[in-house]
Amino acid sequence: MTVGDVFYKTLIEGGSYLIILKGLWVTVQISLLSILFGTVLGALVCVARMRKNRIISGITAGYIAVVRGSPVLLLLMLLYYVVFARSDLSAPMIAVLAFSLNLSAHTAECFRAALLATDKRQVEAARTLGFSKWQAFWLISLPQTAKIAKPTYQSALVNLIQWTSVVGYITISDLTRVINNTASRTMQPLFMIIVGMLLYLGLAYLCYGSFALVDRLSSRKEERKKIRN
């Protein structure tokens, strides 16, 4: 059997690529929703963690420690098979919930570290110059925080995309599950693993690429501003 034969048999015959794309779409959907909710939740958790109130910051520190320290697969199975076992929530919803929780803990720590790394005196200076608390945060701290947090945040997202490969455990036919099913049908597991890896690699670079694109657009905007001034 040549590589061409294997390629035809696993990916083309009977429109099998369509079902692989469908699996890819499920993975993309779960990832995007989790990134959205996880980031928002992460920001909220970060705010709570930074509060001076000991009880609030203690609770959030505990939450971060538990969620960040436990494997997301076990969290996923706990939510699906125990916590929401009798509820009508669909499996993809629970997957999004589990991954959002996991990502929120990671991003909260990432945002907090970045916030702490910014120069506090700049905010103080802004406040003495008459900026409101919100303005100081929005105009002074946030842009710097975003810059510092970006690399860690980016890799947290890519990690999340890769972690979604375990949703087969809770009855979702995502990319990994579809790849496994195809491997079982065609009995060509090695080739299918390579195909799956390339697809996940593609997703990861799509994520990196979109960050680079945003970077380039914003730097162009700044240049234009400079020219105008």
Partner: protein, 290 residues
Amino acid sequence: MKKILSLALASIMILSFASCAANKPAESAPLHEAVLNGFESSLYLDQDAMAELKDIFIPLSYESMADAILAVTSGKCDSFIVPTMCADYILANNPKLEAYATTLNFSFQMGVLKEQEELRDLLNSGIETLKENGELDALIKKYVDGDIVSIESEKEGIPVISGAKTIKVAVTGDYAPIEYVDAGGNFAGFNVALLKALSKQLNVNIELVNMAASARLTALSSGKVDVLFYVLTNPENDITDILDKNNMLLTSVYYESKGCQVIFRKGERENIMALNKKAEEALASVEKRK
């Protein structure tokens, strides 16, 4: 401190090299035998026999048949046992492998939770009727024992009967030709055909739930599914203890394999056969002692 650490590391390295060298002689090297994940293999492999043969077989656990094939083709593992129709399917699709027939026989049964005796009896009555009216034999001939390489998949799916109750059945799609997912993404194979016949016979709706094989037991015990479509057993094994421990009941047998085959890489027939023979002899001597 650093010195002590590096000394310790160096001694570990030397020891591991030495133990590698000690393991080398190929004559008595044990076979790495792939078994499909823990719980299932304990039903069809005799645990006492496996313990007896620990110098000949080293069991390695794998999630699915595809993983086991990957392990065998890559040399991580030497062989694994599958029912004959699966062996036929594997050999037809993967030319790197060979098979050797053994005397083992596997039965296929469905699994339900212990509390669900009614469900088990219902399924049993369905299977019995299908056996009596010859429908089951026809399905087996068409999907399992026939020309399995070119079987047509069940594209129709299982029709929904309005008002009837629904039974959720866990399928893995990883056990061709008993269960697999076809190129169009539909469940296909013997499982769909049999469940379709059962649904019609018993007037119940059957919903197929695709999941990873190792999650099936959790899904069953949490009530996310009601039935595991296939549980492999060996008629010669006493498995009441294991079933008890896992809180499970089995339905009557709906398919019995026509023997089993050991799958291995091409060109290793002599080695594999010699070791399997040795295993058989060892087991026979144990029988005698009893």
